[in-house]
């Protein structure tokens, strides 16, 4: 006789939409989360309001749009959903240490011998469901002697909700009876097996259970029969324990809270060293570091810094943290002292073990990266920028500034000229092209002979052009531009353009100065 275990299965059928609504409130229009199946957009999850309107999971999105207008569609974020499920599992630790994931939207709690602490199966299930509902989750649950029985009942016993949402409790040994009326979809197995059952005319778990097991095993495989037995409470399947999270943090507790700057600094160094060791063992480096200072009175101060490249050198980590601490508008106030300081790698990336490079360029680049990290830590990452090229003909859009630490942008600048040619683009572009006046130029497309810019009259000594560029007709319409590179008698070099072409009648086009060559 098996020792009777008690398993609680939880199902969060609307996890993706619940997550979004918890984060930013319920939108006005019904919310659905879209996913992809066979290259078509389908409904991946939906909130209760949308379901009431007749939408369903797996429905083509186009179809849903046709039925319900307006509809609020958010693309699925499976990572975020998985992270949330992990968090809920963490939270469930308070009921039992044996929590296991039933991804993507369920949990198992092994509550064997724990239920009495919460007033018995009934009260405990009620408590779990009430607490999760209070946090904004749609949730259903059941307790039975085996995982599959509990799971099947949580997900497929439609009466459970009708009976006041308290979930479903199977008395020990009552599994077979409890699951008998469930549809065969409760097996949640391979679609091929479901079709085989349905083609055989078997519609409920009970009908399947009534067949000989040799008959089923020959046709559907021994795995299926095992699952059936687990569901009937006649066999047991161990729960897979959750994988421990990689432990990438270091903390130090103090019996006597510390207050002095020196003590804090040495603590940080010690923590940086142990975190560095952890990172090294895992072959990782931190892209983002967090430090938390827990004050004895309960207040917590947190700072976070980012690094352009993964770091695990304690001195570098410490330097980045200190830059940030120095730059705080509101300096760290130890009050009555910190009793816990924690340093964690908020974002870690795999990196090869540090090798000393003898390439001077690489070292120089590393120096620049480190400088960027330090500057960014001090002034804020959005204040230290660099240009990245854009694929467009439009000069003012050809480069955009992004945070210098951001390494996602990596494009090479186009080269269209021979090394000894003059540059095609000026090194300085004015914020806005400035109109120039009194322009004298031959029609239809000759460079100007002289022009006035910022009160100054310039005489053109040499010029090349035009380079003709038309604006992107599908986004904004504007006149065609003829660009000229000109050098004045004084030796200044400008980048000018004529805005529009000469027409037979009417006024001449306007001229602008857009950039200055070195």
């Amino acid at each position: 006789m098996l020792q009777q275990r008690r398993i609680m299965a939880l199902w969060l059928p609307r996890l993706p939409t619940d997550r979004l609504i918890r984060k930013s409130g319920a939108p006005e229009a019904p919310l659905v989360v879209s996913g992809r199946a066979n290259n078509a957009l389908i409904i991946h999850a939906l909130e209760a309001r949308a379901e009431k309107l007749g939408l369903y999971r797996g429905q083509p999105l186009a179809n849903a749009h046709a039925m319900v207008q307006p509809l609020n569609v958010v693309p699925a974020d499976e990572k975020a959903d998985a992270a949330l499920l992990e968090n809920i599992a963490d939270w469930c630790d308070r009921f039992t240490p044996l929590v296991s994931l039933d991804a993507p939207d369920g949990l198992y709690l092994d509550i064997t011998g724990a239920a009495h602490l919460f007033g018995g199966d009934q009260a405990m299930l009620k408590d779990v469901l009430a607490k999760l509902s209070a946090q904004g989750f749609a949730v259903r649950g059941a307790i039975a002697g085996t995982s599959w029985a509990a799971r099947a009942l949580a997900r497929h016993q439609t009466n459970a909700l009708a009976r006041g949402g308290s979930g479903f409790i199977v008395p020990p040994g009552g599994e077979a009876e409890a699951v008998a009326s469930l549809p065969i979809t409760a097996f949640d197995c391979d679609a091929k097996i479901l079709r085989a059952l349905s083609h055989a005319g078997l519609k409920t778990v009970g009908q399947v259970a009534a067949r000989q097991s040799s008959e089923l095993a020959e046709r559907l495989g021994i795995q299926f029969v095992r699952r059936l037995l687990v569901m009937l409470g006649q066999a047991e399947e161990p729960l897979a324990p959750r994988r421990p999270l990689p432990d990438l943090m270091a903390e130090q507790r103090f019996a006597d809270p510390v207050t002095s700057r020196e003590a804090i600094a040495s603590t940080l160094l010690a923590l940086a060293q142990s975190l560095g060791g952890l990172l090294e063992r895992q072959g990782q480096g931190a892209r983002m570091l967090g430090a938390a200072f827990f004050r004895a009175d309960g207040k917590v101060d947190r700072i976070a810094v980012r690094a352009g490249a993964p770091v695990r050198d304690p001195t570098i980590m410490l330097r980045l943290l200190n830059q940030k601490l120095d730059a705080l508008a509101d300096p760290l106030d130890p009050g009555f002292g910190f009793d816990l300081v924690r340093l964690e790698a908020l974002l870690a990336e795999t990196t090869s073990p540090a090798t000393v490079s003898f390439d001077a360029n690489e070292n120089a680049r590393r120096q620049v990266r480190f400088l960027i990290d330090r500057l960014s830590a001090r002034f804020g990452e959005h204040r230290v920028l660099r240009f990245v090229p854009q694929d467009t003909h439009i000069p003012e859009a050809a480069a955009v500034a992004v945070p210098a630490q951001d390494s996602d942008f990596d494009a090479t600048w186009p080269r269209h000229q021979r090394p000894d040619d003059p540059p095609r683009r000026p090194c300085r572009l004015l914020e806005k092209p400035e109109e120039i006046h009194h322009v004298m130029a031959d029609t239809p497309d000759a460079p100007p002979v002289r022009f006035r810019w910022r009160q100054c009259l310039h005489h053109v000594a040499r010029a090349e052009g035009p380079e003709r560029i038309v604006l992107e007709w599908w986004s904004k319409d504007g006149p065609t531009r003829d660009y000229f590179r000109v050098e004045t008698r004084e030796g200044q070099r400008f980048w000018l353009y004529r805005d529009g072409l000469y027409r037979r009648n009417g006024l001449g086009p306007r001229w602008y100065l857009q950039g200055i060559f070195a």
Partner: protein
């Protein structure tokens, strides 16, 4: 001042150029260019279109047309424009391109500089350096290439506003001087007019698979790549005027014209000492002697002589010998075939057994062919059984070799659906939206997309991106997209064909096709033989075989097309009753409505029947006058001109066979000549314009000429107008009498088989699928209504094909074959047939002996094919699942699979009839057990919905609601009505949806499987009943509700014959 643009990329450089070749020619003429060169990327596909446009320009001031190609290399050589000086050089250019195509996959051409050097003689070459100053080391120095190419080489220079044009030009001038070649001005144009630039951006995006937003510098920076006036080119090259004069010098050196490609037809072998004409005359004489064993009627002999003289005069005897040879070969292989086309309905072709239509029994229409003014090649299309045509094609390749024979191309153009899909992507619309927009375009011939269609697709026409996408999709329509092989048009030459036009491999193995389509060949008067596939011929041959195999000794001979008893009244009786499902050409909804009204009683009536339900006669309003005159011959009279201009009976000869009403394309042409005073050449121009009037826009001039011409000669204005409407209606679907006559024979033969051998007809039709209008379910249903027993596919009895079995009563029954089971493989069927021997001893024995893969067994079980072993569908599937999985190496596995112990199991729950019927539909698309709608009947009755059979019983004008499964949706030609055939367990109901209603209910009409139609009953005196729909509702969900499992995926567009009432079951492994 003058100039010649030589670097022209048309839209036949697919997705690069943004204007049609003709537009370049017209624009060049408009701008006053001295000549215009067409040079597409490794292709000559567009040059005939340019030539066609060029021909229609007034001769005065017409620029010279230069034919060339832009050679694009794979070895880093810059592009080179190649213009042949003369015919021989043109042949070499074709050869270069053919060789490049042959070593590349379909649609591409792999060239190296060596290919050009091998065939360089007589080609004028322009080396095109890249548009920017070259970066050091990035590309080969042109100097070396220029030297290698030798004389008659130029260096192309362009002024494209890149910002450094002058410096670049100086640089090129230096290089040219160093290599001793002249500089030549080009503008490297991609479109004829600057306005086309936006479309050019769009095709670039389509080519690069990017959106406009993401295209960046893949697009041109400006809109300068168009044809520019000579003055403007002179201004741009003011410092290098010789570059402009070089364009004129180059153009002057060219003396090749496309019309030099006079066709040289292959010389058929003839017996020694005879000419081709003598040989043909001999063949015709012996053929006639065979046709008329008693005596050749003098009338026939006289016609034969005229025709032979004509053929001799036109020197086209070889053409007839070729067709004769192909047909004779096919007959030797037992392949059924029949010729049609202008030359086919001749005594010569009858004597050569190219056609089976006996010219003695009615008038021969040789006049179109006999028109000596038409210096066009004769036109014979030969239809072969569609399943065996490939044998004929391979025979032709064997006989002529693939350098002398190739298929014609078909230019695949952007149509409504493809255009909106591609352009939508470019504008960043999701698949979802473009899919919906594309879904509302009717068929593949969707015209311009209109706003109401956009709304129908649930999209907002006010949305800027959608509106733009639609605008440009409309612009893109008609643009060539790629070349594909024509279904069967063969070009044969005596010389090497690859010196006439480039030839490349097709997607199919062992097929090659040229770069020109049939219109291009027409333009150049190059002869071709059409080797076409016709499903009905397959069906007829299979029916003949079945009849022969199951005939009681000596009763039924082996039939041939010619041997079928003629003018059998019972066959006409059947057709008059509109009992025509499966009959060739007259089984469509519209034809079935016409049959009881036209009441065909003779062979010629069938030809009229075939031709009358077409856009031409309908648009010309000729249908009713014709029917009225049939009913009352006293109404027959012939339109006449004013006596001052011509004899009152001038149209009698033209219209006598059709009771004074023009119905056929030839009649319209003859009327243009006889009544409207066209010259033969003008009439020919009209015929061509008819075929392409959508694109060319020359129709209004013809309209004025035609109607004005008739009215000036005293014809009634209304009649002239109607005649011209009809000509417009012929459009692309012009239907000549010669085709109608050939088709009429197949109508008669298929109707005869249906009448006298319904079981064989049903089996043969099913064995020839896909063809015709109707799904297998309707064919089977029709056979059963005619008293033929139809038996389900069964592992114990069936063959691969549908076959005939004698029932106990001695009647022939159809046994459905394994081919009716979706996805079942022929090879498995043959295993079952071979192993069957004296029969199987039950399921276990069957499984062991056949050792079929599991997939096959599951398919059989799902199709309920184990009844012969006493297992129904459910039990069969359960039993199949018990078998061990397929062994991985069947070759080494012991012959017999290990015996499984006998098993005693409880019976499975019984399957309901509705489940069985629906499962039958999922696996074989038909059920002999019932009809899906019968399970909905009670619910439908409660709603007050009439069954299909009940509609006919209602009075004219009664309001009615009727629901049924959509069998056929049809919009005949340009018709303003849509015909829908609904069917339920009681019969069928014919629904008519007018254009306005259709607009409102497009989604329902296009997408429903089960459709509820509400409207009024309309009854004609002939007893034709229609439901004139006012409201339509999609009730497909009701069908879905019947199903136990499986979701109905959205129906895909396609022939409704292939649409499924229910989605297929997906249950393999």
């Amino acid at each position: 001042m003058s100039y010649v643009e030589l670097a022209v990329t048309t839209n036949y450089s697919f997705l690069r150029g943004a204007s049609h070749p003709g537009q370049f020619v017209q624009q060049a003429a408009f701008l006053g260019h001295a000549a215009i060169g067409i040079a597409d990327h490794n292709s000559l596909a567009g040059v005939v279109r340019a030539y066609d446009a060029w021909q229609s320009l007034p001769e005065e001031g017409r620029p010279k047309l230069l034919v060339g190609a832009r050679l694009v290399f794979r070895d880093g050589t810059p592009d080179i424009l190649a213009y042949p000086k003369d015919r021989a050089a043109y042949g070499r250019l074709c050869r270069i391109l053919s060789e490049g195509k042959n070593r590349a996959p379909k649609g591409e051409c792999f060239l190296g500089l060596g290919d050009l050097l091998d065939h360089r003689a007589g080609l004028l070459l322009i080396v095109m350096p890249s548009a920017h100053l070259p970066l050091p080391g990035r590309e080969p120095k042109p100097a070396g290439i220029l030297r290698a190419l030798g004389p008659d080489t130029w260096l192309g220079a362009s002024m494209l506003y890149t910002g450094e044009d002058r410096r670049r030009l100086r640089d090129l001038e230096r290089q040219a001087r160093a290599a001793g070649v002249p500089l030549i001005a080009v503008n490297d144009v991609l479109y004829h007019h600057p306005d086309q630039r936006e479309l050019q951006d769009i095709v670039t995006c389509i080519r690069e698979h990017v959106t406009l937003q993401g295209a960046g510098r893949r697009l041109q920076a400006n809109a300068e790549r168009h044809l520019k006036p000579p003055q403007e080119m002179a201004r741009l090259f003011a410092r290098h005027p010789h570059a402009i004069t070089e364009t004129l010098r180059l153009a002057g050196m060219i003396d090749f014209r496309l019309d030099e490609l006079r066709h040289n037809y292959p010389h058929e072998p003839v017996p020694p000492g005879k000419t081709a004409d003598e040989h043909l005359r001999h063949l015709v004489e012996s053929g006639l002697a065979w046709r008329y064993p008693q005596a050749i009627p003098p009338k026939v002999a006289a016609i034969a002589r005229t025709e032979l003289d004509f053929i001799a005069d036109r020197e086209i005897a070889h053409y007839f010998l070729t067709v004769h040879d192909i047909v004779a070969w096919a007959r030797g292989q037992g392949i059924l075939c029949q010729g049609r086309g202008s030359a086919a309905n001749s005594v010569v072709c009858y004597a050569l057994r190219i056609t089976e239509v006996n010219p003695a029994t009615f008038e021969v229409m040789f006049d179109r062919f006999l028109n000596t003014n038409r210096r066009e090649p004769p036109d014979i299309d030969v239809d072969f059984e569609h399943e065996r045509r490939e044998e004929v094609i391979q025979y032709i390749y064997r006989r002529y070799g693939r350098r002398r024979a190739a298929l014609t191309a078909t230019v695949i153009c952007y149509r409504g659906r493809s255009a909106i899909r591609e352009v939508g992507k470019v504008f960043g619309l999701t698949d979802d939206i473009t899919g919906r927009l594309a879904g509302t375009v009717w068929g593949s011939h969707g015209g311009q997309m209109e706003e109401h269609q956009v709304r129908q697709g649930n999209a907002d026409p006010g949305n800027a991106a959608i509106a733009r996408a639609i605008h440009f999709a409309n612009e893109l329509m008609g643009f060539p997209r790629h070349l594909s092989q024509h279904v069967g048009g063969f070009v044969l030459t005596e010389d090497f064909l690859d010196t006439v036009v480039p030839i490349g491999p097709a997607a199919m193995d062992d097929r090659w096709f040229i770069e020109w389509d049939k219109d291009d060949l027409d333009t150049l008067a190059i002869m071709k033989v059409d080797v076409l596939a016709l499903g009905m011929l397959t069906c007829i041959r299979k029916a003949f075989d079945l009849i022969h195999a199951h005939a009681p000794c000596g009763r039924d001979p082996k039939w041939t097309l010619a041997a079928i008893p003629q003018e059998d009244p019972s066959v006409y009786d059947m057709l008059c009753a509109a009992d025509a499902i499966g009959v060739f050409q007259v089984e469509s909804r519209a034809q079935m409505n016409m049959l009881p009204r036209l009441k065909p009683r003779t062979f010629y009536d069938l030809a009229v029947e075939v031709a009358i339900v077409r856009p031409g006669p309908i648009q010309g309003g000729m249908v009713h006058p014709y029917l009225k005159r049939r009913a009352d011959p006293s109404l027959i009279r012939f339109p006449a001109p004013d006596p001052r201009f011509g004899p009152p009976d001038e149209l009698y000869e033209v219209l006598k066979r059709t009771k004074g009403v023009p119905l056929f394309q030839e009649q319209a042409m003859r009327m243009a000549i006889v009544a409207a005073g066209f010259t033969a050449a003008q009439a020919n121009g009209l015929r061509k314009a008819m075929a392409t009037f959508r694109h060319s826009g020359t129709m209004p001039t013809f309209r004025e000429k035609f109607i004005g011409g008739m009215m000036r000669r005293g014809y009634d204005a209304e009649f002239a107008q109607a005649c011209f409407n009809q000509i417009e209606g012929f459009g692309e679907y012009g239907f000549p009498e010669s085709h109608a006559i050939s088709f009429a024979l197949l109508v008669y033969v298929s109707a005869w088989i249906k009448k006298h051998h319904p079981a064989a007809f049903c089996a043969a039709l099913l064995n020839s699928q896909p063809m015709g209008f109707y799904a297998p379910a309707e064919i089977v249903r029709c056979a059963r209504e005619h008293g033929v027993a139809v038996l389900a596919p069964d592992a114990a009895f069936s063959q691969w094909d549908n076959s005939l079995e004698r029932t106990a009563a001695g009647a022939l029954a159809v046994r459905l074959g394994f081919r009716q089971i979706d996805g079942f493989r022929e090879q498995d069927a043959h295993t079952i047939m071979e192993e069957r021997g004296y029969g199987y001893r039950g399921f276990a024995d069957f499984a062991r002996r056949t050792a079929l893969p599991r997939r096959a067994l599951v398919l059989l079980a799902e199709a309920d094919g184990f009844r012969g072993f006493g297992l129904d569908r459910r039990e069969g599937l359960w039993a199949v699942r018990r078998l061990p999985d397929d062994s991985p190496l069947p070759l080494f596995a012991p012959r017999a699979t290990p015996e499984q112990g006998a098993e005693t199991i409880a019976p499975l729950p019984a399957m309901t009839l509705s489940d069985h019927v629906l499962a039958d539909y999922q696996t074989t698309r038909l059920s002999l057990k019932g009809y899906p709608t019968q399970f909905l009947r009670a619910a439908l009755d409660q709603e007050g919905i009439t069954a299909c059979a009940g509609v006919a019983a209602l009075r004219d004008g009664a309001k009615v609601r009727c629901a049924g499964i959509v069998l056929v949706r049809q919009r005949p030609g340009e018709g303003t009505a849509i015909f829908i055939t609904l069917s339920d367990e009681t019969g069928v109901c014919n629904v008519v949806v007018w254009q306005d209603t259709f607009r409102k209910f497009r989604r329902e009409v296009m997408g429903s499987r089960l459709l509820l139609a509400e409207g009024r009953v309309q009854k004609s005196p002939e007893g034709v009943v229609h439901l004139m729909a006012e409201k339509l509702t999609d009730r497909s969900a009701d069908l879905k509700a019947l199903m136990d499992y499986g979701q109905a995926p959205a129906p895909r567009a396609g022939h409704p014959r292939n649409a499924r009432v229910l989605p297929p079951s997906r249950d393999f492994h």
